[in-house]
């Protein structure tokens, strides 16, 4: 009976914690597709006149913005890459389709967590030489090449031919796998040899932490406002999206979830312990007479306590073991079946599970100790009279 309480307690604890972990997994899956130490800078239009400039001036980032950021923030910066988004018709032989193609730096691979399936990503030489190379998404290859090998073939993007040097996949979803990456310098060359760029993606060093990232964002904002002569109070000259900020909120949310789950789990464990304690009291009451007999035969209080404790630990151990494995079994059964309910790969690490079991056994022993101690104090004569 008492064993059942413990089994159930541990089962519920493990299942809940596992599901909580599953929930956290889906959270991470949703929000961690891109590198988490990333910031995006989007250009905008000014909303205030400043230093003789009119309102509503379009801010245009250029290549020198990249180098300036690189030179001014070496302490914070891990890498930086521009992003020039374009849409166009892409043709291979007779197949053609509309895709977005992006001019980027090699560092963009890290920021998007692009995974190369075949060939290679763009490299620094491609940027320098302004090569007409393209890295295409898995779905682009599927659509245009129909199972043929794309590597080394030429595709035509808006009337310019590019050689396919790599195929990638991305966990960000179908849209991101329908992209084509080309060197941003090549794109600038084709577009009348400008040095314009749209977005800047940069990553700060992860060891800065969230606080460091916020400070960096602040300094960067100030620097860019000065450089582009935007009023210090103007919020719309450009925008910085800081993933760290988002992540912070998400982590808080999933942290709260875990906290709730843990709380419920611990509650169940406590209920289990109280259960054992209760049952031990009952068991001892039932065995008062036996304890009296044992004392009459020469059992010391210590040997009585030892006996009761051994029993309560034994029960807890067996029951805890069953609960542990039942819980892990249930989690395995659930597996990914609840993916639609945002529970992905529920798991509990063995360490936590074993800790829970040990705690339960420990408390089970403690729960047994109090009644055992009382049992040891029973006067044999009282115990023997107990019919």
């Amino acid at each position: 009976m008492s064993g059942f309480t413990i089994t159930l307690g541990l089962l519920i604890f493990i299942t809940l914690l596992g599901l909580g972990n599953g929930l956290q997994n889906s959270f991470n899956q949703f929000f961690m597709d891109d590198a988490t130490n990333t910031m995006f800078i989007f250009p905008g239009r000014t909303s205030m006149p400043y230093k003789g400039y009119n309102v509503n001036r379009t801010i245009q980032f250029k290549n020198d913005d990249l180098t300036d950021i690189q030179n001014n923030f070496p302490y914070y910066l891990e890498y930086i890459t521009p992003r020039l988004f374009r849409n166009g018709i892409v043709t291979y032989n007779n197949e053609s389709n509309s895709y977005s193609y992006v001019g980027v730096n090699p560092a963009h691979q890290t920021s998007e967590k692009t995974i190369m399936m075949k060939g290679r990503y763009l490299n620094d030489l491609d940027i320098k030489e302004k090569t007409k190379y393209a890295v295409i998404g898995r779905l682009v290859e599927k659509d245009l090449f129909k199972g043929k090998i794309a590597l080394g073939e030429h595709i035509i993007i808006n009337n310019t031919a590019y050689k396919v040097i790599g195929v990638f996949q991305d966990e960000g979803g179908d849209n991101e796998e329908r992209r084509i990456y080309i060197p941003y310098t090549t794109l600038q060359l084709i577009e009348k040899n400008t040095d314009y760029i749209n977005q800047i993606v940069l990553a700060y060093k992860p060891e800065l932490g969230i606080a460091g990232a916020m400070l960096f964002e602040e300094k960067l904002t100030k620097f860019l406002k000065e450089k582009h002569e935007i009023a210090p109070d103007d919020q719309s000259g450009f925008f910085i999206r800081n993933i760290a900020d988002n992540m912070n909120k998400n982590q808080q949310l999933s942290g709260v979830l875990t906290l709730i789950v843990t709380f419920v789990g611990i509650g169940t464990l406590i209920a289990g312990v109280i259960g054992i304690s209760n049952i031990m009291v009952f068991v001892i009451k039932e065995r008062t007479k036996e304890i009296g007999v044992r004392k009459a035969l020469g059992a010391t209080p210590f040997s009585i306590i030892t006996m009761i404790l051994q029993e309560s630990i034994f029960i807890t151990l067996i029951a805890g073991y069953i609960g542990l494995f039942l819980g892990i079994f249930v989690l395995n059964m659930i597996g990914d079946k609840l993916e639609n309910y945002f529970i992905l790969n529920p798991y509990i690490d063995l360490g936590t599970a074993i800790t829970a079991t040990i705690i339960l056994i420990l408390f089970g022993a403690l729960a047994g100790y109090v009644p055992a101690k009382r049992a040891a104090r029973i006067q044999p004569i009282v115990a023997l009279r107990d019919e």
Binding site: G292, R294, A296, L297, G298, A299, A376, L384, E387
Partner: protein
């Protein structure tokens, strides 16, 4: 063997104080077989419990085999009980989930005798009470007389100085009672000291000495000619 001087014992029953033993002076020598008689409420069981160190005395003195029994803590009392005394109860008090052999071996367990030696000795005593074939049976599979014989074997197993029997035949029919008494007489013949609490005249007459208790004092203490239980069996 047992020396008791001016023993008093009272119980608190709510606000009333029940004075059960009012100055008992009582000696038992080695090898005696003493019956303590009296109607219910005369204090005979209380006396036995104090002798058995199951209960504490209020005033007076009690010496067992030369050892003064004073200021006992639980652990010390447990040791003395184990070493000096063997108990036989009216309701047998066998542990019902242990076999006859395990029950008999229990006092030896508390003497920290190794398992193998324990079982050997226990079987020896079971043989003595004629139940060697029942060693592996649980108490629930034994008759009342057999249970009491297991209990006697258990009481003997620790080789105590004194056997204390509280209404040993109270739960048995007369034939079985005589069998049990015969066994107790045989044990006494071997030199063990026995104290038997009973209210049955015929059982008392099978002892060598009868002590009459009434309202907490000894009113009569006489030697009798022992009636051998074997005559009835």
């Amino acid at each position: 063997m047992i020396v008791i001087n001016n023993l008093h014992k009272s119980y608190k029953m709510g606000s009333n104080v029940l004075h059960v033993l009012k100055g008992i002076n009582f000696n038992v020598n080695e090898g005696e077989m003493v019956a303590i008689m009296g109607s219910s409420g005369s204090g005979k069981s209380t006396l036995l419990n104090i002798v058995g160190m199951l209960d504490l005395l209020d005033s007076g003195s009690y010496t067992l085999d030369g050892v003064p029994i004073v200021n006992l803590n639980e652990t010390k009392a447990a040791k003395y009980r184990n070493k000096f005394l063997g108990f036989i109860f009216q309701s047998f008090n066998l542990i019902n989930y242990k076999t006859a052999l395990e029950n008999v071996a229990l006092p030896l367990y508390y003497q920290r005798v190794p398992k193998k030696e324990r079982d050997e000795k226990a079987l020896q005593y079971l043989t003595k009470v004629g139940l060697a074939n029942w060693a592996t049976h649980l108490p629930s599979e034994l008759s009342g007389g057999q249970k009491q014989r297991v209990a006697i074997a258990r009481a003997l197993a620790a080789q105590p100085k004194v056997l204390l029997a509280d209404e040993p035949t109270g739960a048995l029919d007369s034939t079985t009672s005589y069998e049990v008494m015969q066994l107790l007489q045989e044990i006494n013949d071997e030199g063990k000291t026995l104290l038997v609490v009973t209210h049955e005249e015929d059982i008392a007459k099978m002892c060598k000495r009868i002590v009459q208790l009434k309202d907490g004092i000894i009113i009569e203490d006489k030697k009798v000619n022992q009636v051998r239980a074997s005559e009835y069996v």
